[in-house]
């Protein structure tokens, strides 16, 4: 028991003695899943590149972690204390000691309209017309993609809040060696051009960028006017009619109970369109958690109900705006199939 207390005392102050050890523990827990244990990237972009670390300040890192990038996968870590975030920043910095640049105040006096035109000409091919970033996530290499690293969204409120003018100027001037991001000189851009582009990027700060919180229910429920068997058949037919392939029909507790003991009043129908599945996974590999499509038919107290997930909550769940449109379409499809099967 004495040993336990002693150990407890040894363990408890650990998070307070903020050193790189704490930073590493926190980084491994919160960040490595997307950015890799050594910062090489994954669902997230690489963080360990010298060309990245030498162009961003600790304030930039701190702000990015605290506020995240709304709608661009990178979460806001509101649950971490300032001290914990600072420990993470110190740990990231330790990959390239002394790399922090000196951020001096830079005033941008640029021609926003001209900047917008230059952006479309030189930057939009990677960062998108409205600087919304390229589709997909980080450097995930589990499937083919256009860019080895996704181009971040530059119109993003979280990014613009974190990025000082000095950081933007430095990044655009130098590019990021080891990534597709080219230097201004290599694109033939002058100092004035860069100022114009920054002025244009800054105008996104005035937009209402906040994403509306999702109020919709995570499920779709519909009562059927048919019996269980007919409803199941109707679902299958309706799904086929929408170009889905029925890949599996099973009882809800199949595999959990002995064969023959399943509850036959609860049936799952899986259906898939592999083209759609492939597209969804390319946008965000994590959505496979909710695919292929699935509808569950249940007989409950003499009534038959059809239930499914509500796909529109996925883009919020994954903090990924790219999924918005696809999820809305998916919801529409689900609704149509369910209505056709039940009415």
């Amino acid at each position: 028991m004495k040993r336990l207390v002693l150990l407890g005392m040894l363990l408890f102050p650990l998070p307070l003695v903020a050193g790189n050890a704490t930073g590493k523990v926190l980084y491994d827990q919160n960040c490595a899943v997307c950015h890799g244990y050594d910062g090489h990237g994954g669902v997230g972009v690489p963080l360990a590149l010298p060309a990245f670390l030498s162009t961003v300040s600790n304030d930039f890192l701190f702000s990015t972690i605290r506020n995240g990038r709304p709608g661009r996968v990178m979460p806001a870590f509101r649950n971490l204390s300032d001290r914990q975030i600072s420990a993470i920043v110190r740990y990231i910095r330790s990959w390239q000691p002394g790399s922090e640049p000196r951020d001096s105040a830079v005033t941008i006096r640029g021609d926003m309209i001209r900047g917008g035109k230059l952006f479309k000409k030189y930057c939009a091919s990677c960062h998108g017309d409205r600087a919304q970033g390229s589709p997909g996530t980080g450097v995930t290499f589990s499937r083919p993609r256009n860019l080895p690293i996704m181009a971040p969204a530059l119109n993003n409120s979280g990014f613009l809040k974190a990025a000082s003018n000095a950081m933007l100027l430095r990044t655009i001037t130098q590019g990021r060696k080891g990534t597709p991001m080219p230097s201004a000189a290599s694109m033939g851009l002058k100092q004035k051009d860069i100022h114009d582009i920054i002025a244009w990027l800054r105008h996104f700060e005035k937009r209402h960028a906040s994403r509306k919180q999702e109020k919709e229910s995570p499920v779709i429920v519909q009562e059927s006017s048919y019996d269980l068997k007919t409803t199941v058949n109707n679902v299958k037919q309706a799904a086929r009619g929408k170009n889905f392939r029925i890949i599996r029909v099973q009882y809800l507790d199949q595999g959990l109970v002995e064969p023959g003991k399943e509850d036959r009043r609860k049936v799952i129908i899986y259906f898939c369109n592999f083209n759609l599945l492939n597209k969804a996974l390319a946008l965000d590999p994590r959505v496979g958690l909710f695919l292929p499509c699935r509808v569950t038919v249940i007989e409950h107290k003499g009534r038959v109900k059809v239930v499914s997930i509500n796909p529109t909550m996925l883009s919020h769940l994954f903090n990924n705006e790219e999924l918005d449109r696809m999820c809305k379409e998916m919801k529409q499809t689900y609704m149509e199939i369910i209505e056709e099967a039940t009415l």
């Binding site: 523990v25 899943v33 244990y37 589990s142 499920v219 595999g255 599945l277 769940l317």
Partner: protein
């Protein structure tokens, strides 16, 4: 006494060290396994079983894709649950059946593996019944512990 000490210590360590990444709104639980896909799959399935759950099925998302001519790395979804619990919840709250049994998906990322699940606590947004909370809380806590073990599977 020994056991008690070990349990307390284990709990303490878990409190301090468990920090399965809660992405976004805190409803996706996600970790990076330092092991390759096949080893991660084994660790995951063994761990799920250690927590008393039965694995009902493994959905091979990658096989379907590859058969249809698409390129993908390994991608699977593992379904699991306790028959009694699944049946009870589905009977009482049929609208939750869309999320039953529980599942964890995993996909290869080079020599490592990404493992993720939706936090069952998000279902309180569908049904917020006092009677339901304890079980969702336990599922959530079990999931986090399972993922934490997978994350540390190299140590």
């Amino acid at each position: 006494m020994r056991n008690l000490a070990r349990n307390c210590l284990g709990g303490l360590l878990l409190m301090l060290l468990s920090g399965v990444a809660m992405a976004g709104t805190g409803r996706i639980l996600m970790v990076r396994s330092p092991q390759m896909f096949p080893e991660t799959m084994i660790t995951l399935q063994n761990t799920i079983r250690k927590f008393g759950y039965k694995i009902s099925r493994v959905q091979r998302v990658d096989i379907g894709l590859t058969k249809s001519g698409y390129k993908t790395d390994r991608y699977r979804v593992v379904f699991f649950g306790k028959a009694g619990e699944v049946r009870k919840i589905a009977n009482r709250y049929p609208q939750l059946a869309a999320y039953l049994p529980m599942k964890i998906s995993l996909f290869a990322e080079g020599r490592e593996t990404i493992v993720l699940a939706a936090d069952p606590m998000m279902l309180t947004r569908v049904v917020d019944a006092q009677a339901l909370r304890p079980i969702l809380r336990r599922w959530s806590s079990d999931l986090q512990k399972i993922l934490e073990i997978v994350r540390k599977s190299d140590d």
